[in-house]
Symmetry: D2
Subunit: 368 residues, 4 copies
């Protein structure tokens, strides 16, 4: 219920602002006895870390995670895990001017309207830095999933930058880690490099589509009606900064299908039901089928750009605002590990809920 928490049983609460001393996450409800260390979480943060190449913000943050509670001798104890990441590269500059100006497309306007004041330094709570805390929490979820569901794997990638989408026929999972875009299509990655250079130099930014797929998800995760697995995923992904749309499986394209083309036909495989397609994105009636769970989300272009746009001051004056500073020309890139982290948290949470209600496993067998 709380405003800065998500999850039912595996519950993550994040805190912190861009230019405060630290940000972090409290992870509550974690199963006990799971091997967990800072060294195990850090690689996930490293994937999201800014300043790694010319396509992300030049803010230099090591994003070193510290576990302040909830583990003993390298194992989780079942008590709350506090994950803290200190903010180190906070450029000293005068935020007084910004405090009185509202950039178009930016949360500083609505924070002001809602609360009457805000921390303007680096976006405060609405900064993309908040997502580092999600990634740290996702590292905990991954460690637990690795222990409970060994075959489960989560893989995010960027499938569109601006209007330029990948060629699905060229999808090569091995390519994802080889380019700065987490792009599974090497030709697209090359194109994107040139395009983004141009956009960046023009003082502009661009949107993207991110896809996250989880394979090895056991059937039965989810719940009817409001705690549907897809409803939880939609909330989780839409809660990421700058996300404007979430799709499951065929997503928006499902609208254009007919019942006979959309339904994923089944056959009996050696290990249970198999499907001839996956328009459902691995979820039927809010509950996982055992197929890969597929989520896509659209990330809007960063609104902090050098190109001047018309905004307002607190006094109500119209002003042209050009945002200097260190911003991502395509924030969708760094949203890839964030989407993976949210997927991990949601799947683990639903797994624990399923175990709580039913005892776990697959109560309803098909075949023999």
């Amino acid at each position: 219920m709380s405003l800065n928490s998500f999850g039912h049983l595996f519950r993550v609460t994040t805190w912190g602002e861009s230019h405060g001393p630290a940000i972090g996450a409290v992870v509550d409800g974690c199963p006990p006895g799971v091997a967990l260390s800072e060294a195990g979480i850090q690689p996930w943060l490293d994937r999201r870390r800014p300043g790694q190449n010319r396509f992300t913000t030049q803010r230099q943050e090591p994003d070193t995670v510290e576990i302040l509670s909830g583990t003993y001798e390298g194992r989780t104890t079942g008590t709350p895990i506090q994950l803290m990441i200190r903010n180190l590269d906070q450029r000293s500059k005068d935020y007084a001017a910004i405090a009185d100006r509202f950039r178009p497309g930016h949360a500083d306007l609505t924070y002001h309207l809602k609360y009457g004041l805000r921390d303007p330094r680096g976006g405060g709570r609405s900064s993309a830095r908040e997502t580092a805390a999600r990634v740290a929490a996702g590292g905990v979820a991954r460690a637990v999933l690795a222990a409970l569901v060994p075959g489960l794997a989560i893989r995010g990638c960027m499938v569109q930058m601006g209007a330029d989408a990948i060629d699905r026929a060229a999808f090569d999972a091995a390519e994802i880690d080889r380019n700065p875009f987490w792009c599974p299509d090497s030709a697209a990655a090359r194109r994107w490099g040139g395009r983004l250079d141009a956009i960046r130099k023009a003082g502009d930014s661009v949107g993207a589509v991110v896809e996250v797929e989880a394979t090895g998800v056991p059937p039965g995760l989810g719940a009817p009606v409001y705690a549907k697995l897809d409803a939880d995923l939609a909330q989780a992904m839409m809660s990421i900064n700058a996300v404007k749309a979430v799709e499951i499986g065929a997503g928006m394209a499902a609208a254009a299908l007919t019942g006979s083309t959309n339904a994923d036909e089944m056959r009996m495989g050696p290990a249970g039901p198999e499907f001839l397609s996956n328009n459902a994105g691995g979820i039927l009636g809010g509950i996982s089928t055992g197929q890969p769970v597929v989520v896509r989300f659209a990330v809007k272009p960063t609104s902090s750009i050098l190109t001047p746009r018309q905004g307002l001051t607190a006094a109500g004056e119209e002003v042209q605002i050009a945002t200097r500073g260190r911003h991502d020309p395509c924030v969708g890139i760094r949203a890839v590990p964030v989407g993976e982290a949210m997927m991990a948290c949601v799947l683990l949470d639903q797994l624990l809920m399923h175990r709580g209600q039913t005892g776990g496993g697959v109560p309803g067998r098909i075949g023999g």
Copy 2:
């Protein structure tokens, strides 16, 4: 937290199956003193009611709502409001065969896997009848919104059927109530009539895109990070049966925009900030801006079709399944009032939360 509830302060719990004696919703946390009667809720249910024309299921249900608690002398008392809708037209037929068969694309498979058993009659809990309870709850939310935010209006419509989208230039709000598709484009409505007749006769079904817009929404509704207004809307809409994607404002199209084209520039109007566009869909940083809140969602085609598709039996045998019975050829049509109801519930819930945390109103003024 509960599996069949949604909302933080204005909290709705639905219950009931397609072929049980009744379905309903408990609405908790409703403000007291608001005029509310069955007669005030019934019109919203009538909009969703099946059997109204040849494009919806021929099941005949009056969907008469009964208020069993929570009002006194025509006003809400602040205590739980139980809304009950009796099921009347439950065709007597033998469900034994269906109980052992899993239709492709249908929740009966996953309910079986998760729980080990299910109520197979008419889809049980996964039936679209559950959405009648949402519409009833939405009727309560609308009554409260009418009292608290008189200028707020919610209007849903269908903007795409199959691959056939409306012409935005022909958008005419007055047209929406004049055709069986809640379609704002009269030419499109005529086309859809012909197409859907053909689809229905072919024993098939088709998907759709529904758009819900709320105008007069006060700025400041929402919360940072996990209880964002858009995250709550995404969860709410994705929880509706058959929905596979949710968009806010520009939605998926935001990915293709640049920062300079996406940011909604502002000017100062007589009553506060005005925007030159609405790519944000009325929400920035998870908080309403005062612009119209715009949500779209894709509804997949009904998987219960006459065209045989390959499914499985509980014994693991592959079978061709053709679903006879009374099903919607385009369930997106009836999703329009459901989407409106979810919008009403989410907005009221966030309004109450905003009032709780801040005292209500707009704490941060702009201009004089």
Copy 3:
């Protein structure tokens, strides 16, 4: 979170007023596959039913429970269970006068202050009738507990009426069902009969202490800090009408003990740790030990009495108010089955949470 719900995973929402058409409870999160029928719940309601002897209200209510959803062919499906109890014996009388008067010690004052209006008929939502819905929900919890933890037993009794407590040395569990007070001490039961007759004839009422004990509770139920088993029990029992205090184990008397007398020493028994005493009431650090869980609560005397007491009118006039009508001279009697129901719900809820987080069972063994 909602105002009229309790429980984390096994979640109960009650609704309804004393003089509305019905009251009831929605039970969400129930494990699937458990045998459940109206006939199995009814006996628990019969124990709480009014009008059974001269020591309880003479309102005649059969309190027949109807299951409207959530079961199929006699088993729970894992979906919400709606339990409805119709109100039948609603005396027609003029409540207009009462609507403007506030009895001392009664909730009608505070409902008015909080909401600005209320349903005055029979106490509305604050009526003890609400507890019938709890007992019905407790019947569901008992059915699940019987399936999951066969040895678990819950037994409530009244251990004090007014200032007259039972003799612990005379405690005889078999006696509890043999007298109208659920009293385990036959001599005390006889004394109470005479005393309560006198109190009733004097137009007065009297308080009581109820004790609920659960045996066979597995160790490990509960959680550190805020979702402690004892904290949940305290909330559950204090939420019952007229309850003013809750004790666990030694309770208030623990204050008078020293560390050396309070600590329950342990020895190793054949099946695990055994305790030489139970001052802890079966709970240490918020988690069950395996010993009997013992809760006591004080029920204040009914404030609806024939003896005139000074109250106020809505206009602010001081008036002597004597409450005519059918009221319990010792409402503690009927609180016994209610306390049992709350114990059942809390234990099952914590059992499901424990199973969700840890997989269930007793992860930490002692001895061989």
Copy 4:
């Protein structure tokens, strides 16, 4: 819902163990714009701080609070407030022996049973140090209450040590801060000093009763049935380490009263209803009346004592365990500021909920 959180809208999540690097609390849902600084919270922590006199543990902890997020320029922003307290005086000693031994009356047994492992150093998560985080969160709640309800005051005191209770006739609020027991009766404080010296020297400990009273509480706080103000208080107080019972108003003594003596009669005062007594403890039907809210709770004696008591080893061997170390001979003393903090948090939470549902204030007036 999460295991280590409490509160509905004003939501506190605590984390940390006795011998980890730090403990703390995240406070979510705080109203914006309230003046808040570390200097304003510190005095509350100083009241609870260990090592202040010979009657509390000799562990030396400055308990300095750091605000890591949620404020800007000395005011709350409405975003999560992270309060961190570093652990400094962690005695280096070998916990290996203790890790395999379970003290009677201590949570180390149940943590082991539930989780299969635990942090044994200083009690880990079950240490009374966790309560420092509550006091820090309570400091935030007090700052907000001071802004929203200026006349509200919270005052805790110890009213019984062991079997020795204060003389109510000698109650002097000014005395509370003048002795190391927060005792309002100077004669009792003197007696307790001698008694506790003897108990401490005997290697034993003793229980206590703490009373917390809030005056100036507006009427209307609370909710029917499960989110009753008294039910929330019961949960909050029972969640404090070592608490075994919670009373509201007359508490357990209400059982011995008759309806005519228990009901608090009313008269009309210049500012609204006045009451001739306060057996209700300021709460009727779960909702505040405007009278002082009075809660008492019993704190059991510390189970960590020098006197040997029979416990078990993990191998199942019976052993005599004497706990050396720095423990409170009467932990009830330091529970006084903790109880005050919980009262502050619960009242503010209910105030925000009331404001959310009703708009705030007193919707139902009495008199002109």
